[in-house]
């Protein structure tokens, strides 16, 4: 089952609209200038990675309870795509930081938590690559995936307390913070576009896993 043409077209249209909005509709940021436009895909990728990892957690828990292989396929698809979006965050971040902060990298709370998040899910994929039997692989990685997901808030809070001197988050950062309403609309549009991309990629990856499973069954059937 290929993704339907209308669906592909819809995601492409969203991506085009978001890109247009980022460059032509969003207002220029007062102090940072044009480079700030990277923010729309940067933060939308971060949120998208969060959605993917949450989906993986749900799939991991569902696999342990139901023992149906398709939950495992969904889990690996979601982790791989989430890790790709997390990588986008970690690459667009320094590109933005260099002209604005003057450095590529700083051990600030958000950067550090995102890096640890990346490492957690990278080790999830390494674990999967080292277990041969599909059922054992599904169980072992489901348990590890649940541990990793539970660890995320602990990582986030401990790093946040450890590094309190950083600039307050702009979004939901309390008094005096906030985005221009047009910027809000553009960032939500970008997020919608990236969620569409995520959905397509997860669906493709899920299909690939299903086909792999089917061929393995055929090989065993001889």
């Amino acid at each position: 089952m290929r993704p339907s043409i209308p669906l592909l077209a819809a995601v492409l249209a969203l991506l085009t609209a978001a890109t247009y909005a980022i460059f032509f509709l969003a207002p220029e940021e007062a102090t940072m200038g044009a480079i700030q436009r990277i923010f729309y895909f940067h933060i939308a990728s971060g949120w998208t990675a969060g959605v993917a990892f949450f989906a993986a957690f749900v799939a991991n828990a569902a696999y342990l309870m139901r023992r149906e292989a398709h939950w495992d396929w969904l889990a690996v698809a979601a982790v791989e795509v989430g890790l790709a979006f997390c990588t986008v965050v970690l690459i667009t971040g320094p590109i933005w930081a260099k002209p604005v902060w003057g450095i590529w990298w700083t051990w600030d709370a958000r950067l550090t938590s995102t890096t640890v998040l990346w490492l957690l899910y990278a080790s999830y994929l390494v674990l999967r690559s080292l277990v041969e039997d599909p059922r054992r692989r599904a169980v072992l990685s489901a348990v590890f995936g649940i541990f990793a997901f539970l660890d995320v808030p602990l990582v986030y809070f401990s790093i946040r307390i450890w590094r309190t001197q950083h600039p307050q988050p702009v979004i939901a950062g309390g008094e005096g913070s906030g985005l221009d309403p047009v910027m809000w609309q553009v960032v939500l549009l970008s997020w919608a576009a990236l969620l569409g991309v995520m959905g397509l990629l997860v669906w493709q990856r899920y299909r690939l896993e299903a086909v792999r499973h089917a061929t393995a069954e055929l090989a065993l059937g001889d």
Partner: protein, 224 residues
């Protein structure tokens, strides 16, 4: 058989195994000593620097000790398929994990306590005045390491490259433990020692969350 008595039986078996060979403790203690000595070659610290870098060094050494020591916990059950025998016992699977967590906790605490005076002497750090509070941080931090480490040892034992896999799975998950323990220890070793209770709460929270997660998931790891 109740959970407690079954776990106690597993604990006694682990202790008996270990004290017949003392493989685990000997290896780990010598290894962490090497780490602590090597560290002084890399940057030759003054007393002020020891106070600043010492807590991090101490917890990195403990973390290495843990990831080294926890690996055999399930791997050595595989040689003669003894985990299968353990599973046949009419007890909750969680009792097996609990016994092993307690045994690993005792081994790792023992290694850490042996290392502590050596560390204090080599790096001129006054440990005695803050020993009670330091022990609290060590107990909570070590418990966090052994709970997650023992579960991951059960995971890694069923995969290829298991010696490498355990630290790879364990170290990123232990980020909160490392930050909380090292920062709390740094507060204790400062010129005016002070224990920040936020870190103690984070450590306790980590222990409770992952003990509960182990309780809920371990039966899946123990099945065949």
């Amino acid at each position: 058989m109740s959970l407690a008595s079954a776990a106690a039986a597993v604990l006694l078996k682990e202790l008996r195994c270990e004290f017949r060979t003392r493989e685990l403790l000997n290896t780990t203690v010598v290894f962490v000593l090497i780490v602590v000595v090597m560290f002084s070659f890399t940057f030759d610290p003054t007393d002020a620097e020891s106070r600043r870098f010492g807590p991090g060094l101490l917890w990195i050494a403990f973390l290495f000790a843990g990831s080294l020591m926890l690996h055999p916990s399930f791997a050595r059950e595989q040689a003669n398929d003894t985990l299968y025998a353990l599973r046949l016992a009419p007890v909750e699977p969680f009792a097996i994990l609990l016994g092993k967590v307690l045994a690993n906790f005792l081994f790792l605490m023992l290694a850490e306590l042996l290392l502590l005076p050596v560390f204090g002497v080599l790096y001129h750090v006054q440990l005695l005045p803050v020993l009670d509070r330091l022990l609290l941080v060590m107990v909570l931090g070590t418990l966090g390491m052994t709970i997650t480490g023992t579960v991951f040892s059960a995971i890694a034992a069923q995969a290829r490259m298991r010696e490498l896999l355990l630290p790879l799975l364990l170290l990123p998950v232990l980020t909160p433990v490392l930050i909380a323990s090292a920062t709390a220890t740094a507060g204790l070793l400062a010129r005016e020692p002070r224990l920040d209770w936020t870190w103690v709460k984070i450590l306790a929270g980590f222990d409770v969350i992952f003990l509960a997660a182990s309780y809920l998931t371990f039966e899946y790891l123990a099945e065949e």
